[in-house]
Every structure is written in C-alpha cells, then in structure tokens.
Symmetry: C2
Amino acid sequence: MATVSRVLNDYPDVSPVTRERVWEAIRKEQFVPDRTARSLVTGRSHVIGVILETGVGHPDLQHPFFQEVLVGLRHTVGSSAYDLLLLNAVESGNAFDPQGYLRRIRHHRVEGVVLMGADRHDPEIDEVVRSGVPCMAVDLDLRGGRTGYVMSDNVGGAALAVRHLHDLGHRRIALIGGSTDTKPGVDRLLGFRRELERLGLRHRTDYVREGDFYPESGQVAMAALLDLPGRPTAVVAAADLMAAGAIQAIVDRGLRVPDDIAIVGFDDIQIAPLLQPSLTTIRQDKRGLGARAARTLLRLIADPELEPPVITLPVELVVRESSGGTVNSRAAERRAKEG
Amino acid sequence: MATVSRVLNDYPDVSPVTRERVWEAIRKEQFVPDRTARSLVTGRSHVIGVILETGVGHPDLQHPFFQEVLVGLRHTVGSSAYDLLLLNAVESGNAFDPQGYLRRIRHHRVEGVVLMGADRHDPEIDEVVRSGVPCMAVDLDLRGGRTGYVMSDNVGGAALAVRHLHDLGHRRIALIGGSTDTKPGVDRLLGFRRELERLGLRHRTDYVREGDFYPESGQVAMAALLDLPGRPTAVVAAADLMAAGAIQAIVDRGLRVPDDIAIVGFDDIQIAPLLQPSLTTIRQDKRGLGARAARTLLRLIADPELEPPVITLPVELVVRESSGGTVNSRAAERRAKEG
DNA sequence: TTGTAAGCGTTATCAG
DNA sequence: CTGATAACGCTTACAA
C-alpha cells in the first residue's frame, strides 16, 4: 500500500522493478487515486477557487471582459494539476453548508483564490483576504499578507486614448468613465485628466460622466453629452460595452460615428471589430491578466514566503474606424482649427 | 463528536438543548465541516463538474452563448448545496494526476456533469457518458443510461426566421448554417429547408453555406453569397456572431442592411441589440438552458431510477432593425413582386 | 438521547 | 528499499 503511494508520488526510494509492477497493476485495475482521501491527509485539494461576483442585474460572469480573463485563467491552471471551482455567492438552503466565501473555501480546502468583479468593500471579500489563503485579484486593488493583484495600465491606457484623439485634431474630448468605486474606473479617469492637462486642453467637468461598464450606462451618458451646449467632438469610453451604448445614442440622434463624434473604447472585447463602425479601443491583454493571476497564485501557493506582488500589464491602442483614425486626416486638420 | 455530526446533518434524534449547545460551540469556534473528510466517508462531494471544451482556436468558454448558459447553471446550482468545478481538458504534467475527463471526475468524486461545446465524437466524452455518472448536455445530443440533454427548438427557430423574412416580402433567402457536425447546425438547416418548402420557395443549394458559429465564418460565407449571380435579398445566420460577420461583409461591399440585404441571426446574445443595425434574431433562452440542465442533473443525482430526459426549450423571434421588420412594409411589397 | 468505535483511502513514520 | 501502522476529520452502526 505504502509502496503504491510512493510510486504514485514519484518518490525515489522504490526499486525500478517494483515501480513497474505497481504501474502495471494500476493500469490493469484502472485505478484512480481518490483525491478526497489524499486531501484529507495532505491538507491539499488541488483546487483553486474563483470568486466572480454575481449581482442580480449584472452577473459579472457575463461581462465579456471577465470571460476572457477566465479563459486565460483556465488555460494556465489547466496545465498545472489544479482545477477551478466556481464559488457561488448564493446561499444554500441547507443549514450546515457553508454560505460565505470563506466557509466554502475552507469547506473545499481550496488552496488559492482568484477574485474578480467583486466589491472591494464587501466584508465577505475582506474575510477571504484576511484569512491567509493565497489570493490574486484581477482588476481589483486588494492587498494583504497573502493577497496581490494584476491590473492593466489603466492610467496609461486612458492617456493613450486621449492622445490619439488629440492627434486626430480633436480638442473637445469627453469621458464616459467607469464606476469610481473601482480602481480601473478611478485610474482611467486619472489618465484622462492628466493627458488633457499635459496637452493643455481645458478640463470641463460636464464632459465627464460616470457609467458602470455596461451598455445602458454608456447610452445614457452619451445622450447627456449630446445635450450639452458645445458638445464634444470625441468621447473616450472606459469600456467597449459603454462605447457600443454610446454609438447607439449617437445614431439615435441621427448623427454619425466618427464623422460627427469620434469614439474610443477600452478593453477590446471580442466584438469590438464587429461593431459598425468597428471600434477603436485600448486593448487590454485579458487572457494575459488571467494567465498572470493564475501563475502568480500558483507560486504563492507553492511558496509561503513569497511576497504577493502587484502586477501591471501594458495596454495597446488599436485603431479602427470609430475614431476616424484610419481615414486620411483632412478632417483632423479642420477640426484642429475649429478648436 | 457523533452528536456534533448529527446536529450538523439535522438528524432528529438530538435534544433541543444539546443541539443549541452544539451550535453555540460551532459558532464560537468558527467551525467549518471539512468536505474532504465527509466525502471520504459518504462518497459524495457536492461538486458538479462542467466540461466546456477548450479548442485552441475557439475556446468555447468564449462564445457568448455558452457564457450565458453558464450563468444559468451557476445560478441554479448555487442555490443548491453544490459548487461547480470547471474540468480542464488540458493534460497535467504530473504523471499520476488524472488527465482524462473521467479520471478527473472520479478523482474529485464529482457527482454529476454538465457537458457543453464538446465534440460529440470525442472518445473521452463517450467515456464520461458511459461511466454511469449522471450527465446533462446542453446543445449536444448525447444520450445514455444516465445522460440526457437540453436543447432549444432549433428546427422551429430556423423556420421562424424564414417565415419572418418571407412575411417581409423576401423570396431569395439564403442560410449561413452552423457546423453540420452539431445537432443545432443540422436542425437549423432542417428547419430552414422545411419552411422554404412549406412556403413554396425554390431551394437553391448555392444559397446554403456552412459556418462554424463564429464571426469569420459568417463573413466568408456572406462574401461568397454576394458573389452569386442573383444574390439573395435576405440571409438567415445560424448564430448572431456569424450574422455580425455577415453584416461586415455586406458593409465592406458598400451595401446596406437591411435595405440591400436583410439579416436574421440566432441566439440573441447580449450584444445583438448593440450592433448597427440592431440584430433581428431568434432568441434562445440561454439561462433557461443552463438552469434546466442544472435542475435536471440535480434530480438525476438524487434519484438513480430517474430516466434521463431530452428537453426542448422554445425560442422566440425578436424583431429589430437588421431584418427591416420594424420599418413599414412598402419595400416588402415591392420585393414580393420582384420575386 | 448520547457516547464509543470502526472505518472511508490516502500519506507519513517507523521498523525491518 | 519495503511493509506495517497511525493519523487525517468525518459518518454511522452499535451500545449504553
């Protein structure tokens, strides 16, 4: 029995002959080691938990951004010996079953947790972070003894978007920002402001609207911007979905993108190139975020001494039609003159 | 010890006083029952596996359709005492760790499996189906002693799309079908053909193209259709993403939707209303598919005698701009005359 | 109604 | 190098 265990775990102190005999038997019996029993004694589970907050209105699992992050996660985790457990926030009916995240984590002996789309101030999340279980957050600035995070260069990305529009001759640039409850929301706003300043453009507070990363909010914000006296000629949206909503609002008014209003999005989700017009956007390396979070988490699990890092991934401007950046810049010059 | 167990499991034979004392202690100690230990003795894990095939090119987790199904799954499973384990297809580096699905399932003592986006002829999938573990497939016609499936009324949906276009006056209707390797692909083709026949329309084989449910294939197929002598005036795409690709192809030629070509999609994914023009489509109840699969699976797990069912969910025509169905039907009459 | 004791399938610790 | 044996934390007879 013990020898079988040794063979299974690749321990060196087994004679080649015995080893082969054991493998033989394992194959013949179709033997699969039982994870539960092993977990019981080792304390390890080979399971990584994923917390992806499920609001009633906006299950974040549904936001294309997180889906792509999840793909990266899955891929990286999959090539290790771990599996992903989707931790549900929903309460169970049964009284003894763990309800909170932390309880579920302990229950399943989850070895590490990836946190996405969760509320930074949720006490449950706090509990998890403090628990000492290794955690990596994505797009969420959570820190702790065993908790780090991965995030795109949101400040730089927003600045990039502004600069691009400025280069195209735009001077009246507005922002449909993300929720300022979130770090990405705050950082994109910051990058937007800074670049405006750096370029010597006037900063109009009525040119800044706050959305929630989803289409409707982009549509509403855009409608408001269009009502402004001296409406903007260009808009940076802090998420592609909001950009899509904004385009809707523009088209609804009988205006055109990019001729009347230029749009730059953020994320470069799968459908960005499929929109009409195709969306100029700041590309986040979504899979990279997932992969990086996973890789770091695995290291955090393996090495208890490792200091949880804060990782920033670069972003990239992808020029398509919605900014008018692909056509010749005759119009740009005109706009620049108009100020 | 045993008494604690009894309290935890809500057994009746515990005095109210003792029961309360135990709960008290549990709360005080922040005690969380260990799932691994319990699993070891009960043989149950409270874990449902999810197989979502990850091709290199098209991780299906990335298809919006499956994402929404997953939301439904998660929600339903979450309100029971189960958690979802994402089973990775990727092989692990470690020799003893389970590689195939079935091994991973046994390894984790997964109680039931939801199958999505997998290849019907994959021997690994076959293994799982034959294993006797309760399974429910979504959009996949897998049957077995303990395996059933849930699927939309694809035949009816395709027919609905054709009829809608016919009602609008179209007579030259083409199909960008899904992969005929898949049941939905076959069924949508079938529905398309049948309805054409029923309406007494001629069936042109060059009006039927096969795609793979992703945008590029829609674009390619549409380009081919546009090259046809006597090109169609309307196209049914067997997936919204393909419809989006088709619209691209049309716009690229300087043609317009729906004026030159009307389009109807399939799925009603999140971004369908955000496309320009917004997409007329056949709505699948994606969350319903997930929820139904989950509910049925839970029953299958609870009752070993239960015959695994085949469930069909109704679909619904959602009229938006891309079919020209929202505008007045002057054009429709004209087209009808032209035949 | 409660406590005692025997497993569940592994790994880890010891002798041999 | 290999075979016993004791945990791991829980459930479940079985006794008390």
